[in-house]
Point group: C2
Chain length 440, copies 2
C-alpha cells in the first residue's frame, strides 16, 4: 500500500514501543516578559511533547520547543511519526534516526528543516531518553562510554564528506579516548561551567538589569548575556550599566536574535565595541552563512556566535568552512536530536571551534547539558572557552531539573535525558484546556 510509512513493524529486540502519547503544553510566559528579545517580544514558552511507551513498561520522553502559536502544528508533526516508531525498539538508534530522516515522502516537507525536522528531533530524543533509562544511565554517560565505532555509527555523514569523513570522526574520537575516565570524574566533581541570560531580557527595566547582574556574579557565573537590537540608544545605556556592574574584562555577550541585515549588524556591533562585548549572537538570518562570515570579519576582534536556529548539519558545516562563527551554539531540540548533534560536535572538533550550547526555553537546559558533557569526555576533550547557557525559569516543571552550583551545571546522574516533565505540570499547562489557560 503506497500511503504507508517506510518503517514497518518488526521485532528486532526483546521489547517494542507500543504507544506514543503527545501533549500541546504552553506556559503563559508572555505575561511577565520573561524571554523577551528584539525578535520575540512576547513568547509563550511551549513544548510539543511526546511520551513513548514500551511493552515492558519503560518510557521515553522528548519534546520540540516552540514559543506558543503553532505548537499544535508541531504536535501534529510528531504524531505523524507514530507509524515509524510503533513496533520498533530503541537499541540501534543510528538505524532509527535514518529511517525517520529518509522516509521518501516525508522528506519533501523539509528536507531536514523546520517543523518536520523538529518533530524528528523530539522523537529521536525520546528514543535516547528511553535507551538511557533502560541502561540506568544519564544520556551523557551512556554516550561517553560508547566506543568510537559505535558513536560514528550514530551519525549520518551524507553531505558532510567535503568537511568530515567517518575516518576523520574516528580519529577525533580515538584521540579523546585517553583520559575519558578522568574527565568523567571531573564532571562528577566540578560540573560544567554555565553562563546566565537571566539579567538581559529586553523587557526588564534598568534597575532590574543592574540587580540581576550583581546577582549573577554573586552566584558564581563567569559570563552573562544581554539581549540587544531593538534600539541602539537603549543598548548603549544597558551595556554601560552591565559593564559598570560586572567590571572590566568580565565576559558580557550580546544577542541580537536575527534582528539585523549585514551592514546594520556591523555598524551596531561596532557602536557597542567600547563596552567590549564577548560575542555577538545571531546578528542576522540564521540561514545566512556568507552574511555571518562578512560580519565576523568586519567586527573582529569581537566574535560571532550562532546556532540556536541553524536548521541542520549542512548549514553548520558551511559556517565552519566560511569562518562565520567563533562559538558554535548547538540546540538540543531543533536539529535531528542527539544523532545530528553528534555530527555537529564532530564538525566543531574538526574545525577547532568551541561549542557553547543554546539553552533556556522549556527544558533545553535539561537536555543540552548532556551533549556538552559528552563532548567534554569523548569528542573535544576540553572545557576551554566553553560554557553552557543557563536561564532560570520553568525548571520546576521537570522531574529531574538541572542543578546549578557555583555557576556550573552539576553533572546529572539520574537515568535518561532529563526530558520528563512532571505529570501535574503537563495537566496544568495543556493548551487550550488546562487550568492555566481556561482562566484566560
Amino acid at each position: 500500500m503506497s500511503a504507508q510509512p517506510y518503517g514497518q513493524a518488526e521485532e528486532s529486540g526483546s521489547y517494542r514501543i507500543v504507544a506514543m502519547e503527545t501533549h500541546d503544553i504552553r506556559f503563559p510566559t508572555s505575561r511577565e516578559l520573561d524571554g523577551s528579545d528584539a525578535m520575540n517580544p512576547d513568547p509563550d514558552y511551549s513544548a510539543a511533547y511526546v511520551i513513548l511507551r514500551t511493552d515492558d513498561g519503560a518510557e521515553g520522553h522528548g519534546f520540540a520547543f516552540t514559543i506558543g502559536r503553532g505548537n499544535d502544528v508541531q504536535t501534529a508533526a510528531i504524531r505523524a511519526l507514530e507509524p515509524y516508531i510503533i513496533g520498533r525498539d530503541a537499541e540501534d538508534l543510528g538505524a532509527r534516526y535514518k529511517e525517520l530522516v529518509y522516509d521518501s515522502q516525508l522528506r519533501w516537507l523539509g528536507p531536514e528543516k523546520g517543523v518536520m525536522h523538529m518533530a524528528i528531533s523530539a522523537v529521536v530524543n525520546a528514543l535516547w531518553d528511553l535507551k538511557a533509562r533502560r541502561a540506568g544511565k544519564p544520556v551523557w554517560l551512556l554516550l561517553a562510554e560508547m566506543t568510537p565505532e559505535e558513536i560514528v555509527g550514530l551519525v549520518d555523514f551524507r553531505y558532510l564528506s567535503d568537511a568530515i569523513t567517518p575516518e576523520d570522526a574516528l580519529a577525533i574520537l580515538r584521540r579523546a579516548e585517553p583520559g575519558r575516565r578522568e574527565r568523567i570524574e571531573h564532571l562528577k566533581q566540578h560540573g560544567y561551567p554555565a553562563y546566565t541570560t537571566s539579567p538581559g531580557w529586553l523587557g526588564y527595566g534598568d534597575e532590574k538589569l543592574r540587580r540581576l547582574c550583581a546577582e549573577a556574579i554573586a552566584d558564581g557565573f563567569t559570563q552573562i548575556k544581554l539581549k540587544v537590537g531593538a534600539d541602539l540608544d537603549d543598548d548603549i545605556r544597558r551595556m554601560r550599566i552591565a559593564r559598570e556592574e560586572c567590571g572590566p574584562g568580565f565576559p558580557i555577550a550580546i544577542d541580537a536574535n536575527q534582528r539585523w541585515d549585514v551592514d546594520t549588524a556591523i555598524a551596531w556591533v561596532n557602536a557597542l565595541a567600547e563596552f567590549d562585548p564577548w560575542w555577538v549572537e545571531e546578528p542576522t538570518s540564521p540561514d545566512d552563512v556568507l552574511g555571518h562570515a562578512a560580519i565576523a570579519s568586519a567586527i573582529a576582534p569581537i566574535k560571532v556566535a550562532t546556532g540556536e536556529h541553524v536548521q541542520n548539519r549542512m548549514i553548520f558545516k558551511q559556517m565552519l568552512q566560511a569562518g562565520s562563527l567563533s562559538y558554535l551554539q548547538i540546540d538540543a531540540a531543533r536539529v535531528g536530536g542527539v544523532n545530528e548533534n553528534i555530527a555537529i560536535l564532530l564538525l566543531a572538533a574538526k574545525f577547532g571551534v568551541p561549542v557553547c550550547p543554546h539553552a533556556g526555553g522549556v527544558g533545553l537546559c535539561e537536555l543540552v547539558q548532556h551533549l556538552s558533557m559528552f563532548d567534554f569526555v569523548a569528542v573535544s576533550g576540553s572545557m576551554d572557552n566553553r560554557v553552557i547557557e543557563y536561564v532560570d525559569h520553568l525548571h520546576e516543571h521537570f522531574a529531574d531539573p538541572v542543578e546549578i552550583k557555583n555557576g556550573a551545571y552539576v553533572a546529572p546522574l539520574a537515568p535518561g535525558f532529563g526530558a520528563a516533565m512532571r505529570p501535574e505540570s503537563i495537566a496544568e499547562y495543556t493548551f487550550p484546556d488546562g487550568p492555566a489557560w481556561r482562566s484566560e
Copy 2:
C-alpha cells in the same frame, strides 16, 4: 490575550475573507512510478489545499505541494493560519505577506522554512488568486501592470540589503518598463518556451525513454531532462539513448535530486560529460551554498541549476553571491508564495542569472507560468536562455489547466492564478476517505 495571533480582524476594504476551507488531496502516483527519481522513488503527488471565501462571494485557491505522507501535517499548518486571514482583505498583499511571515510566535517554527513557510506560501498564493479573480485578470498580467513602486512594496527586503536594496529593485523594474506592452503581446501570441521532464523518470524502461524523447522533439520541445544519480552505469546507458534520439547539441539536462555529496557529484557529472549535459540539477543538498559553488567550478563548462527545494530568498541570495548556480529554479509553492518569488526574480535579475522554474508535481505548472511571464514583461525583460519545466500529468484535475502549444506555455487569460482544482477531483482524491483511496 497572549495566545492570539498578531493580525486581528479589521475592515480595511469593502469585502472581507470570511471562511477558510482546507483539503488533504493525494494522487496515488506511486502505482505507476510517475515522478520517480533517485531520492523520491515512490511519490504520491499531493496538495495541501486551501480555499478562501469572501463575504461578497469571491474565492481564492492555493496549495502546498507534497509527495504524500505528511500532507496532513501540511494541511494542519495551513489551518493554523486561519486567524490571520479571517476578517482581512486581499488588497494590500505586501502587508498581508509580512503579517504572516513575522508573527512573533509562529516565526519560531522556521523561521521562513519548511512546513510553516510552505503553509504561508499556500495562503499567500490563494490571496493572489483571489485578488486576480476580483481584478478579472490572470496573475501574470495583474503583476505586469503594476508600477515599479507597487511591485517593490510587495517585497520583504530584510536580510537582502547586502545584495539588493529597494532602490536597486526600482532601477531594475524601471529599466524594464519600456517594452512591457510589446512583451505582453508577444506572450499572448507565442507563449513562453517549455522543456519536458516526462521522458526521464528513473522508473521508466529504456524503450519508453527512447519513445518519449522522440515524442518530445516531435511536440516541439527544445530541451528535455533526465533523472540521474541512482546508478552510474544506468545513467551512462540512458544518457547515450537520449543523446542518440535527440541528436548532438540538443539540450539534455540531468537532475540528481540531491543524491550526491560534493566529491561524488563532481566525479559523476564528469563521467557523463561526454554526453554534453545542458545542466546538472540539484547535485547535492539544497542547503549547501558552498557545496554547489565547489561543484559548479569543478564541472565547468557544464552548468549547475537548482532551487526547487531552496527554502527562501536568503539561500538564493547566497547562491547568487557565491556563484553556486547558472540557472535559478524558482518553485511557486515552497518559498513564501508570489511575494517572496518576486524578491527572488529581482535578485536573479540583479545578478544576471536566468530563471528556469521548477514545475510538475500537482499544479506547479499552472502556478509558475505566471511568474515567468511576469519576469519576462516587467523584471528581466528577456526570454534568453530561459525555459519553464513541463511535466504532462495531473493537469486534468484543474479548472484552468495549462496549455502547451509548439513546446511553449500558452499565456493563460483566465482570471486568477490557475490554482483551482475541479471539485470532482477534490472529492475523488481526498485522503483517506475519497473513493480513490477507499479502494486501497
